[in-house]
Subunit: 244 residues, 2 copies
């Protein structure tokens, strides 16, 4: 199977890392819209427009499935992508909620963090409420994105930013609702020692295996990386984060 | 006179504020490319492409002059804009250097801060060196942009970010090489008590008055605001920052 993975930039490589660890596809075609990144500060209509343009790019590769690694895309453009794509489209939000359901009791306190676009969509919140959760706090944490982009994964600036966003909270579980956040999961884990972290990459692998019946392959995954600007930077980060 | 003001987003409103205070134009047409902001993390070629697209938009208004408020545009796309525009184009970098020249002695220590795109261009550095300055430090401070976007103008996160970037430095003058930075100039002034700050908005007004002979008008400035997404947010920020 050939999977297309769409992200607003390089962050989706954290999802690719999980897909490679689970070895679910023969081939992955990744496109990061680095020329227009970040999507998380943009409007619904803009995110839909950019996502449909990415779809045209992927159509050249005739993928078997499209995975939208970007939470902002999954929150705002999933329906439009599903309507337009001639193949199945899977976002990261429903898998994230199902992963939370496996790890957290209904009365446990869930914190959802993400970009402004993802949090304002209330998509995680609605699906969790439907599943019976009622202790839900949603918090946009947009500064974490440029911190990761600057490779600040620990230290005083990140600690001040965590204190700014997290002060007074005490969650049992945290949904990392942005592909950048797994890179600071160690710091978040230090801040909230007892909280369980839900990671989009792990969640999507569980979803593909358990709900779509996609099983581990024997062959190694071939991967092709594309970016709307600076593909060499994307390849460098892929080497660093995913060892490819 | 009708001035076109181009910025990657809302930051250029700090330049508009100065233009309004100096009352140099009968009319200002502002365009912020909010659907593709920020430019400061993007490549030279992408910045040129987006800038030339903005030029097509401005051509509809037949402006007498185009001011590129955005430092990243001024650093990377000014020559291309000058070649393509049928009217004069003024960036903020040369005015910033001339403003520094009026305020700082040749042997004084100058710190240039800006986005990755602006700093990597070395444009401020080259012009300052040409003017005889030799104590120059350039520092990309990209986190300041999202901090301002989040309306964090003071407090522990900004202080940690300043400490991260500024530790060990002791400048006599600082060039605020990004339209967002005037909004945190108070905090920067607190950090470096003796440093003189050079602000793009003030610098461009001095340049227009002293080098292009544009004088204060009697009439009030009419202003039209356009954005590639969410123009209502731009108008709200204009009301807040510029009182318009």
């Amino acid at each position: 199977m050939r999977a297309a993975v769409f992200d607003s930039g390089v962050g989706g490589l954290t999802v690719v890392k999980s897909l490679l660890e689970h070895n679910l596809f023969e081939e992955i075609v990744y496109f990061g819209d680095t020329a227009r990144v970040p999507y998380g500060i943009k409007d619904k209509n803009t995110i839909i427009r950019y996502s449909l343009e990415a779809l045209e790019f992927f159509n050249n590769f005739e993928p078997d499935i499209l995975i939208t690694a970007c939470n902002s895309v999954s929150a705002h453009a999933l329906e439009e992508l599903k309507t337009s794509a001639p193949y199945p489209v899977v976002g990261v939000i429903e898998p994230g909620v199902l992963a939370a359901k496996k790890r957290l009791k209904k009365d446990e306190n869930i914190l959802i963090i993400g970009t402004n676009a993802t949090i304002s969509s209330k998509k995680y919140e609605r699906l969790l409420t439907k599943e019976g959760y009622f202790n839900i706090t949603s918090k946009p944490t947009p500064l974490f994105v440029p911190l990761v982009e600057e490779e600040i994964f620990e230290g005083p600036v990140l600690e001040a930013a965590m204190e700014h966003y997290f002060k007074g909270l005490n969650p049992d579980g945290i949904i990392l609702g942005c592909t950048h956040f797994p890179l600071i999961s160690h710091a978040i884990k230090n801040y909230f020692e007892k909280a369980k972290l839900i990671h989009s990459g792990e969640a999507i692998c569980e979803y593909l295996e358990e709900h779509l019946g996609i099983k581990e392959k024997n062959k190694e995954t071939r991967i092709e990386l594309f970016a709307s600007e600076n593909p060499s930077k994307l390849k460098k980060i892929a080497a660093l984060w995913c060892g490819i």
